[in-house]
C-alpha cells in the first residue's frame, strides 16, 4: 500500500466526545486500518480550529500524507475548511474526505458503545473511499459580460437596471407588448398606499432609455444552448405589424381602430382595448401591437384603418411583418417570469363567473385604478351602483388542501388595502373573512391596526359559500356570504352588495416547460427551486441561471425588488471574476468502451450528452454536466465514470462501511 492516510477524529467539545469514545476510535483506526495505509490516527478537541487545521497541515508535510480523513461534523459544514487546509500544505484538496460522526452519529444515537462502533465503521468507509479519490482541478470557465433577463415585471426591471447601471449590457425579454408586469395593473401599494404607477413608471422609462439595455418586448425565449459563462438564447420576436423605427406612439391608430376587444390580460376582463393597442398609457415601449386574432384586416382582408390614419412618413403599419428569430449571447441568465393569479372559477361555491357582483382581486385593482375601466370608482358590475356593503374573502385558493396548500403571502395585506380603499371611497361596511391575519413585515401590522380603527369588520372563519338564494326578506337581491365565525362559534349569513375574492398566486401555467428550457427544477408547488432556501435564495442548481421575484415563491413588491437586486449582485460578481471555477464533479465517457448505444443520451436533464455521429460514440460536455451521476449508473458498458463519485469510490465505501477491509475475503 503506497498511500499514506491520516485519520483525524474531532471531539467537537463534548458534542461528539460525549457519545463517542473519540480517543478509542482514533487509536482503533491507526491500529486496525494500518494495513489499508493509515499511518496516523489523531484526536483533537476542535479540528476546525486553526490549531486543529495546523495539525493536519504539519502531518502532510512531515509524514508525507497522501490522503486525509476528517471524522467530525457534516461535510456541508467544514469540507471546504479541511480541503483548503490540505491545499495549503501542498495536497490536492480532493484527496481529503470528511465523514460525519456528529450529525449522523453522536447527535442521533444515545448508546455510547453503538455510537463508537458506528464511528469506526464510518471512518473505515471513508478510508476505503479516499484510497480511490483522484486529484482534481476545478474547471475554469470564462464569463461573457452580457446578461439575459427574462420577464419585465418589477423583479426583472430591478435586476436589469442594477446590471446596466454597473456598466454591463443586458437583454431584457418580455412576452407582453410592454414591461411593467402585475405591478403596472395595481392602483395602490400596501402599506404606504403609494400610487403603484407613480413609483413603477419612472423605472420602466429608465429601462426603455438605458444605453446598456436592449429591450425585446412581445418576444419569447424559445431555446437555450450553452452553459454558464456562455449561453446562447434563441428569442422569437413576434411580429408587431408596426415598424418601431418610424412609429412615434402617437396613438392615432388605436384611436381610429374600429374593433373593440375585451382586455383579459391587462384590464382583467373588466375593460376593453382595440385590436391595435398598447396595454396602458405609460407602456414601455410606446409602440402598439396588432392583435391578429381580432384585427378586422387579418380576418376579412378589409379595414386598414390604422394604416390609413398613420401620420408617420414612411407609414409605420406593416401588415407583412414576420416573426423574427434572434440569437443572444449571455454569460448569465436571470429568470423573473412572475406568477399567475389563482383562477377563482375553480371554486364554484364562491360563485365567481356566475354571480355578477363577485369580483377577483385583480378586477378590483383595475376598478380602483384611476386609469382603469371605471376611472377609479368602486361600483357593481352595472358600473353605476355604489356598494353599501362588501365582503372580502381571504385565502381564495391558498392554504386550502383542495387547491394550493401554501400561503400566498400577499393576500392578507392586499385584502386590508382593499378594505381601506372601499371604506375611504364608498363608506360601505366592509367584512374581512380570514383564516389568520398575517402581517409580518415593516409597517404591515400598523396598517392592520389602522384598518381596524377605521371600522373594518373581521370575521375569523373560512367562507363556505357565496350565494344569491335568499332565505330572509333582507337577503333579497343581495349576495349572501355563509361563514362560521369561529371566535364566537356561530354560523353567520352576511347579505352584501359586493364580494371580493382575494385570490392567491400560482406558478405560471407554463413554469414547468420554461424551467426545462433553462434546465432548472420546480418544487412540489411548482415554484422554481433555489440552490439553498436560506443561504442562496436567488441562485439555482444550474450554474449561471438565477431566479428573482415570484418565480421562486409568493412574495410582495419589496421582496421582489430585493431579489431582483440580489440576483443582479450575484451576476455582477460572476462578471467581475471574468473566469469562474466550477466543482469538478462531472461525468466523462471513455470512448474506447462506449458502444454508442445512446441509452445515456435521453437520461441527461441538462442535455449535456451528445452523440458524435462520426465516431459513433456519446460525449459529455463538462460545462453542462451538473454531476448527478445518473448516466454513470445507467451505462451498460461501464464506459461512463463520475469524478468524485466513481463506482470504485462508492463500492470501496460500501465494503469499508461493512468492515470487510478488516478480514480479507477468501474466494
Amino acid at each position: 500500500m503506497s498511500e499514506k492516510i491520516g485519520v483525524y477524529v474531532c471531539h467537537c467539545g463534548t458534542n461528539i466526545a460525549g457519545t463517542v469514545d473519540v480517543k478509542g476510535v482514533a487509536e482503533w483506526a491507526a491500529e486496525h486500518l494500518k494495513h489499508r495505509g493509515v499511518v496516523i490516527g489523531r484526536e483533537y478537541k476542535f479540528m476546525c480550529s486553526s490549531l486543529g487545521q495546523e495539525l493536519v497541515e504539519k502531518d502532510i508535510k512531515e509524514l508525507g500524507l497522501t490522503r486525509v480523513i476528517v471524522a467530525a461534523c457534516s461535510p456541508h459544514l467544514h469540507e471546504k475548511t479541511f480541503r483548503t487546509a490540505c491545499e495549503r500544505a501542498g495536497l490536492n484538496p480532493y484527496l481529503c474526505e470528511m465523514v460525519s460522526i456528529r450529525e449522523q452519529v453522536s447527535w442521533v444515537h444515545a448508546d455510547k458503545a453503538a455510537a463508537t462502533e458506528k464511528s469506526k465503521a464510518v471512518i473505515s468507509g471513508g478510508v476505503e473511499r479516499v484510497l480511490h479519490n483522484e486529484p482534481l482541478e476545478p474547471i475554469r470557465v470564462p464569463i461573457h459580460a452580457d446578461t439575459l433577463v427574462v420577464g419585465g415585471g418589477i423583479a426583472g426591471i430591478q435586476a436589469a437596471l442594477e446590471i446596466a447601471d454597473a456598466g454591463y449590457h443586458v437583454c431584457l425579454v418580455e412576452r407582453e407588448p410592454s414591461i411593467g408586469g402585475h405591478m403596472a395593473q395595481f392602483d395602490k401599494t400596501f402599506p404606504t398606499l403609494d400610487c403603484s404607477a407613480c413609483i413603477l413608471t419612472p423605472k420602466m422609462v429608465d429601462v426603455g432609455n438605458h444605453p446598456n439595455i436592449t429591450l425585446l418586448t412581445w418576444s419569447e425565449v424559445v431555446k437555450v444552448d450553452g452553459f454558464v459563462g456562455n449561453f446562447k438564447a434563441t428569442i422569437r420576436k413576434k411580429a408587431r405589424y408596426v415598424n418601431t423605427d418610424t412609429c412615434t406612439g402617437c396613438g392615432i391608430c388605436w384611436e381610429k381602430c374600429p374593433k373593440k376587444v375585451v382586455d383579459n390580460v391587462y384590464e382583467a376582463g373588466l375593460g376593453n382595448r382595440k385590436a391595435i393597442y398598447t396595454p396602458f398609457a405609460q407602456a414601455v415601449p410606446r409602440y402598439p401591437v396588432i392583435d391578429v386574432e381580432n384585427c378586422t384586416y387579418f380576418k376579412n382582408g378589409k379595414c386598414k384603418a390604422c394604416q390609413i390614419f398613420c401620420p408617420t412618413e414612411p407609414n409605420s403599419i406593416n401588415f407583412d411583418q414576420k416573426d423574427e428569430m434572434l440569437e443572444v449571447q449571455a454569460g448569465n441568465i436571470i429568470l423573473a417570469t412572475g406568477y399567475d393569479l389563482f383562477d377563482a372559477t375553480r371554486i364554484p361555491q364562491y360563485g365567481y363567473g356566475k354571480l355578477p357582483n363577485v369580483f377577483t382581486s385583480l378586477e378590483f385593482e383595475r376598478m380602483c385604478n384611476a386609469a382603469g375601466p371605471t376611472e377609479g370608482k368602486i361600483v357593481l358590475r352595472d358600473k353605476t351602483t355604489t356598494p353599501k356593503s362588501v365582503v372580502i374573502v381571504h385565502c381564495v385558493g391558498s392554504r386550502d388542501e383542495n387547491y394550493n396548500k401554501y400561503c400566498s403571502g400577499i393576500c392578507c395585506m392586499q385584502s386590508l388595502k382593499f378594505a381601506h380603499l372601499v371604506m375611504e371611497r364608498t363608506g360601505a361596511e366592509v367584512y374581512n373573512c380570514y383564516i389568520d391575519i398575517r402581517t409580518p413585515f415593516k409597517d404591515y401590522e400598523e396598517f392592520y391596526k389602522r384598518v381596524l380603527e377605521e371600522g373594518g369588520h373581521f370575521i375569523r372563519g373560512k367562507v363556505a359559500e357565496v350565494t344569491d338564494a335568499a332565505r330572509l326578506p333582507e337577503e333579497e337581491g343581495k349576495l349572501i356570504v355563509q361563514v362560521e365565525d369561529t371566535l364566537i362559534g356561530k354560523q353567520r349569513r352576511i347579505p352584501v352588495d359586493m364580494v371580493i375574492l382575494s385570490a392567491g398566486i400560482e406558478p405560471r401555467h407554463d413554469a414547468k416547460e420554461v424551467g426545462k428550457l433553462f434546465g432548472i427544477a420546480c418544487g412540489a408547488s411548482g415554484w422554481y427551486t433555489e440552490k439553498h432556501p436560506k443561504l442562496d435564495p436567488v441562485a439555482t442548481m444550474t450554474e449561471g441561471i438565477y431566479i428573482a421575484g415570484c418565480v421562486q415563491g409568493p412574495k410582495d413588491i419589496p421582496v421582489s425588488v430585493a431579489q431582483g437586486a440580489a440576483a443582479a449582485a450575484r451576476v455582477l460578481g460572476k462578471i467581475q471574476q471574468g473566469v469562474i471555477s466550477l466543482e469538478p464533479i462531472k461525468a466523462s465517457i471513455n470512448e474506447t468502451q462506449c458502444s454508442g448505444c445512446r441509452i445515456c443520451n435521453g437520461l441527461c436533464p441538462f442535455n449535456a450528452i451528445a452523440f458524435i455521429e462520426d465516431d459513433k460514440v456519446s460525449s459529455i460536455n463538462p460545462a453542462l454536466c451538473q454531476g448527478c451521476g445518473t448516466c454513470v449508473a445507467a451505462c451498460p458498458a461501464g464506459a461512463i465514470s463520475g469524478t468524485g463519485f466513481s463506482d470504485a469510490q462508492i463500492i470501496a465505501q460500501i465494503d469499508g462501511l461493512l468492515l470487510r477491509n478488516l478480514e480479507p475475503v477468501e474466494a
Partner: protein, 157 residues
C-alpha cells in the same frame, strides 16, 4: 436470554435532500436506530443497482435508498430514474430468493429530518423482524463475478 439481532443497514443518500435531512435530524438531536451507515451521492439517480447487490452480498441485512420527493429533484427528474431502478431491483431480488422488503425507498426533503429519523428506525425494525440475511460470510461467488466482469471490461490492446 437471547441477544437481540442488530441488523447492519447501508443507506444511500442524495447530497441535496436526504443527506441534509440526516444532518437536520442531527442538529435537531432526534434519536434513531444506530444500525444505518450512510453513503452520500450527488443524486439518487447515481444509484447503480449493483451497489445494492454489493452491499447485500457484503454483509448488509438491508439497504435504504433515499432521495428527493418526486418533482423536487435538484437535477430535475433523476429521482424518477431511481424509482424505476428500485422497482426493477425488487423483482431481481425476488428472483434471487431475497426478500424484496430488504430494500426500501424513502423520499425525504432537506426539511424532513423527523421523517428521515422515523423511517430509519421503522426500517431497522422491519429488518430485525426479517432476521439476518444469513449468508454467514460474504458470498464468494458474487465476489468472483465482480472480478470476471472487470476482466471483461478490459479492452484488448
Amino acid at each position: 436470554m437471547t441477544e437481540q439481532f442488530e441488523p447492519t443497514i447501508i443507506g444511500f443518500t442524495c447530497n441535496w435532500c436526504s443527506y441534509r435531512a440526516a444532518d437536520l435530524a442531527g442538529t435537531s438531536r432526534m434519536k434513531y436506530a444506530p444500525n444505518v451507515r450512510l453513503i452520500r451521492m450527488m443524486c439518487s439517480g447515481r444509484l447503480d443497482p449493483t451497489f445494492v447487490l454489493r452491499a447485500l452480498s457484503g454483509g448488509a441485512d438491508g439497504v435504504m435508498i433515499t432521495g428527493c420527493h418526486p418533482g423536487e429533484c435538484h437535477y430535475i427528474e433523476q429521482n424518477y430514474k431511481a424509482l424505476r431502478r428500485f422497482l426493477l431491483l425488487r423483482r431481481v431480488l425476488t428472483g434471487l430468493g431475497i426478500e424484496p422488503e430488504r430494500v426500501k425507498l424513502v423520499w425525504a426533503s432537506a426539511a424532513e429530518g423527523a421523517r428521515f429519523a422515523s423511517e430509519t428506525t421503522a426500517f431497522v425494525e422491519e429488518i430485525r423482524k426479517l432476521g439476518p440475511l444469513n449468508w454467514g460470510k460474504p458470498v464468494a461467488a458474487l465476489e468472483n463475478l465482480q472480478e470476471e466482469v472487470s476482466k471483461l471490461e478490459e479492452v484488448p490492446a
